[in-house]
Symmetry: C2
Subunit: 311 residues, 2 copies
């Protein structure tokens, strides 16, 4: 790595940023080295997470949010978690992204991140990708994920602010997902607000929020939008901006960033430990231990202790 | 723990099984002890995983599958991953489960498992819960999850056989999710097959399967069902049974179970390591390390190495 790589990154060159992110995703010693060099340059960007049940119109809402940010002259980078897998092509979200209206705008950098196949876990990769985007001088970094799984919730919590997107009249599974992600919301959006049932959905999420808001010093506003026509978008932009200013003024932003750094260190550490476990060979290899347990010579806990060097 | 606890578990007593699972979920030394004692008694049950994009009608299909198994005299246990959170009540799926028609049948044991809040991760808990159900003599264990996230895919892979449920005409996010989970399918179901677009969905998933089937010695059948009326259910029951017999005859079942045991040991080991990392205090505590990184005195990788005792 030459210093001019870092200079081009700091200058915001999109192809250098893309290469840097690919390096972060691959991991290894080179990624560690680059990450160490860019760390002193991070901390300037506002990191906004968007998550929501599938079908809530999250992508359209983010598109409208990006347009509003661009209208105010801000540069944007998007890291979108792609729930499709690299093995089966992973192209579904990729295709969808290429169709987005901002794909040709150099002020908008969009990157799709596979949710599967990260040995250290999705969190470890995402922390580094956000750091790279931050070091590249983007004003706003948007983390986008379909907020359905445990890992995906962890990922969106990397953001300074989490926006949770809902829509009226979704199925049972989606109802359950909604309940699981509401509690991380700083700003709550009920999209497709022109549909039947929107008022009921607003009441319902407000009721859940009221139960989970205890002990927090910010009550998440519940905003209604019709992302396809732009209705309500400016209120979302303002709510995010106001909340970010409040966080900065109260010192909560600094606190959140320390918690985020703690989570990043933990993610890297767990990744290191997981790789150590997988690379163990010989009698202490996973395969040999599994065979011993199945043969009744060992129990799973004892096998695990041997694996981590306690047995 | 007394031996009569294990005897009552082995006799299939539902309240003993429920207590055993609660113990497994809490973790700790008592859970380790009980797990060690039940391990020699596991390996008899057929473990079937069901996953699918939200809204595909997975729960209704599982209900029909359970009815078919009960009709053949088999006992059943269901471990359903609840994507709603314990903090906000986690009651959404719970309510839905109570409405199920099998809730009053002692031959069907249903347990909802929170997807959030497992320090060791959902996988570690689910392995143990399946072991408890197996030791309790259930013929079939069904793992149910909304197949959306990284952790949820890992969980359904605990099963001997994975059934992936789809439906026609779902949104973009759902399309992407589908692509991510198709490759783990042993049996593929297109539910709601009476709807427009069913034939197109069948062609589409068959095309994805063809791309991912290379190197596997089982081609996942694509079956059509209308779970609400029972159409196509017996073909699903037969396909699962046939595939299970084939796996047993070829030795692949034994291989899968060794891989599953390796995954279980790894999940326990990673849980141990994660707890070790979180319990570190003093200068090497996460909080102190995060503060040092933010102050520029350390980089995240070096902090992680200190945390795992390599720095």
């Amino acid at each position: 790595m030459h210093d001019d790589f870092l200079d081009r990154l700091a200058a915001g060159d999109p192809s250098t940023l893309a290469r840097c992110i690919s390096l972060m995703e691959r991991g290894g010693a080179a990624a560690d080295l680059v990450h160490r060099r860019i760390c002193p340059r991070v901390g300037r960007a506002a990191v906004i997470g968007f998550t929501g049940a599938p079908g809530a119109g999250k992508s359209t809402l983010i598109d409208a949010y990006i347009a509003a940010l661009r209208g105010r002259g801000a540069s944007v980078a998007v890291a979108a978690v792609d729930p499709s897998s690299p093995i089966s092509g992973g192209a579904v979200l990729g295709d969808r992204m290429r169709m987005r209206r901002h794909a040709e705008d150099p002020g908008v950098f969009i990157r799709s991140v596979a949710s599967h196949g990260h040995l250290g876990g999705l969190s470890e990769s995402m922390h580094r990708i956000v750091d790279a985007m931050d070091a590249a001088g983007r004003d706003f970094i948007i983390i986008e994920t379909v907020g359905a799984g445990q890992s995906e919730v962890e990922v969106v919590e990397i953001a300074d602010i989490c926006v949770v997107v809902n829509a009226p009249n979704m199925g049972d599974d989606v109802q359950a997902m909604k309940a699981g992600i509401l509690e991380i919301a700083d700003v709550l959006v009920v999209n497709k607000a022109d549909r039947d049932g929107a008022a009921a959905t607003v009441r319902e999420v407000a009721a859940v929020l009221a139960r989970t808001a205890a002990g927090r010093n910010w009550t998440a506003p519940v905003l209604q939008t019709v992302a396809t026509t732009g209705v309500g978008i400016s209120a979302v932009v303002d709510a995010i901006a106001t909340h970010h200013e409040t966080l900065a003024a109260t010192g909560d932003l600094e606190l959140r960033r320390r918690l985020r750094m703690a989570a990043e260190i933990e993610a890297i550490a767990v990744g290191m430990l997981r790789r150590r476990v997988r690379n163990t060979s010989g009698e202490k290899s996973l395969d040999a231990l599994a065979a011993a347990v199945l043969a009744g010579r060992l129990d799973p806990e004892a096998a695990a202790r041997r694996l981590v060097g306690e047995g």
